[in-house]
């Protein structure tokens, strides 16, 4: 018998039992919807994390005194970096694109009655090369301003928003703590950093100005190194390590008293974590898909028993065993594929509803949609075969007598 006829029979039979057919497919619908929703949202989260990390700058090494984050344990406080270290890094390490020192302080910024507590970053123009910053107006520091430690600043969009209500700021004079300062530039919005910090809540000044007026020392707490794309970050990181060990007189075998952090490592770690979570949740959802398949098998078995007489009639009027098998198999496959399709639809709706709540971008992942649908079809074949074989094996005489 042609497949088309089997299809007609299967569709008729499904239509005859609408409610039961719907309940049968419910397991598949939920399973497919759960898998697709979880993987899509997981991917969206991973992409969001990666985007936030890349906002920190890719191929950027952060060098801090001490080991790891903070100063763990007792012992003497490791020495801070100084201007000579910056010079040395720039001149002696190959593959370095730019080196920016950073000295941080906190201060209240005031302009025309508006005030805002913000972070002051003392650095050089190299900072704008290391990290992907865009100016919306004005300019970066001039060499004299850097050399003399002039009181000029470039403000982030959050600060601009709070002091100038988003209006023009270049050429205005603001108060920063005890000093007054000319705004020479404004920065484009960059968004949230990976750790919840607002990267736009910043005032950038020449490092000399910050050291003299705010921190009161020549110390540099953080060095940002931009690595040339053409070089391997790992190799550059090792040369920097060798240079700093030499400059800081660390004997072979002794531990470093500084640490070099690759932003890509954070990216990899966080991406790895979200990927792991995604696969765990997707696995759980996948199990529910299998349970859905068992549901189909269950109902199909009940259906075979319940429809024994019907099978007897079909056999009596001349259906061969293969045709009965095919009918029940196609019924199971049609049911599970239908469930798969509805599940995909539900998943898109669920993702559409959850994406704004989770504040991520919807990335359509064709692979998982195709895979989930394929699995639902396979489930139809696998779990439909056993009941179908049972139906086909019935003896027409016994089947006709069945009450």
């Amino acid at each position: 018998m042609i497949i088309g006829t089997t299809f007609v029979l299967a569709i008729r039979s499904i239509r005859r039992h609408m409610l039961r057919s719907f309940l049968t497919t419910l397991g598949i619908i939920i399973g497919v919807a759960a898998v697709v929703t979880m993987v899509t949202l997981g991917n969206a989260t991973t992409a969001a994390v990666q985007e936030q990390i890349s906002a920190l700058g890719t191929n950027v090494l952060q060098i801090r005194p001490g080991q790891g984050f903070g100063r763990g344990g007792g012992g003497p406080r490791p020495p801070e970096f100084d201007a000579q270290d910056i010079e040395a890094l720039q001149r002696q390490v190959t593959g370095v694109r730019a080196v920016a020192p950073q000295a941080q302080a906190s201060a209240i910024a005031i302009y025309d009655g508006a005030n805002w507590t913000t972070t002051i970053n003392g650095t050089t123009n190299a900072y704008f090369e290391v990290q992907p910053w865009q100016l919306t107006a004005g300019r970066t520091f001039s060499p004299e301003e850097e050399a003399a430690g002039k009181s000029v600043c470039i403000i982030g969009s959050t600060v601009q928003q709070n002091l100038f209500r988003g209006g023009n700021a270049v050429g205005e004079r603001i108060r920063l703590g005890q000093i007054s300062c000319d705004v020479i530039g404004t920065l484009a919005t960059k968004g949230q950093a990976g750790f919840g910090g607002d990267q736009d809540d910043t005032v950038i000044m020449p490092i000399k100005t910050v050291q003299r007026r705010f921190t009161g020392s020549q110390d540099i707490r953080l060095i940002l190194v931009g690595v040339d794309q053409a070089y391997d970050t790992q190799v550059v990181q090792e040369s920097i390590s060798d240079l700093l060990r030499d400059r800081r007189n660390i004997e072979p075998g002794e531990d470093d008293n500084f640490n070099i952090f690759d932003t890509r490592q954070i990216s990899d770690t966080l991406t790895g974590t979200t990927n792991l979570l995604t696969s765990i949740v997707a696995t759980v959802a996948g199990i529910s898909l299998i349970v859905g398949g068992i549901g189909i098998m269950n109902i199909m078995l009940v259906s075979v028993t319940e429809r024994t007489r019907e099978i007897g009639i079909r056999l009596a009027i001349g259906a061969v065993a293969r045709e009965v098998l095919l009918q029940f198999l196609v019924e199971a496959i049609v049911l599970s594929c239908l469930g798969g399709l509805i599940g995909l639809l539900v998943a898109q709706l669920a993702v559409a509803a959850l994406v704004p709540v989770m504040d991520v971008k919807w990335i359509f992942v064709p692979e998982i949609n195709v895979a989930a649908f394929a699995i639902s079809a396979i489930i139809g074949v696998v779990f439909g075969y056993f009941p179908a074989r049972r139906a086909a094996a019935l003896n027409p005489i016994d089947a006709l007598r069945h009450e």
Partner: protein
């Protein structure tokens, strides 16, 4: 008008259920010839072997021993699927309990055998409606069994049995679930089909009134054919 050459021929047919000491021999060597175009009623008390014989004649079961020739085919040598194809091509079935598919329209029920023959939609609808017309239910084509009376359901079942223009119509107690008035209507319909279309009708019944419509009455007893009453014309009362 009937073809005198038998289209069905049983020779020494036995049927044994089970094995060993609990074995039960339902048929003990049945010889029977049925001519094409005949209207045969099979009678006998329960356990006499009439149902077993009908199952074998319907190609639903095979004899344990003996030969069953149907249109020259040795049915006892055919496998399950070959017998199914024989049923599909040459046989039509009517059951005591109607056995229509529930929640399925009369036309879809009647079309069912045509589906298995691989007929296209148009042919199925045309032939299905023609068969419903023959049983006088053309305007009920879209009703489900639940919306039809018992007599109407049996007519739909007969339409389903004849839609493929079979050689032989096997009816197992076709009036068993109907009152006498409906029963007579069904018997008249079967007689009419037998006379006009030349369909050979084999009918199991335990009611002499119904058997009276047949041209030949085969009496079974204890797994054997006890006697055969042949009449010249269907409808004549038994003397």
């Amino acid at each position: 008008m009937a073809d005198p050459a038998p289209i069905i021929s049983l020779r020494g047919v036995t049927k044994t259920y089970g094995e060993g000491p609990t074995a039960f021999q339902a048929l003990k060597g049945v010889d029977l010839d049925i001519a094409g175009g005949d209207f045969v009623a099979v009678m006998g008390p329960s356990g006499s072997g009439k149902s077993t014989t009908m199952n074998i004649l319907g190609c639903l079961d095979v004899p344990t021993d003996g030969t069953f020739l149907f249109r020259g085919h040795h049915v006892e040598a055919l496998d399950r699927d070959q017998r199914a194809l024989l049923r599909r091509r040459y046989l039509g079935f009517v059951f005591q309990g109607f056995n229509l598919l529930s929640r399925t329209s009369a036309l879809e029920n009647v079309e069912l055998p045509l589906l298995y023959r691989g007929e296209d939609k148009k042919t199925r609808a045309d032939m299905g409606m023609a068969a419903l017309d023959k049983v006088g239910l053309a305007e009920w084509w879209d009703h489900t069994p639940a919306e039809l009376s018992g007599g109407q359901q049996q007519r739909v079942a007969i339409a389903r049995a004849i839609v493929t223009n079979p050689d032989v119509l096997l009816a197992d107690e076709p009036t068993g679930n109907l009152d006498s008035e409906r029963s007579v209507e069904i018997m008249e319909l079967l007689t009419d089909l037998n006379r006009r279309s030349g369909i050979t009708v084999l009918m199991v019944t335990h009611e002499p009134d119904m058997a009276a419509f047949a041209r030949t009455v085969v009496h079974f007893k204890d797994g054997l054919v006890e006697r055969i009453d042949a009449r010249h014309r269907a409808g004549e009362a038994v003397a």
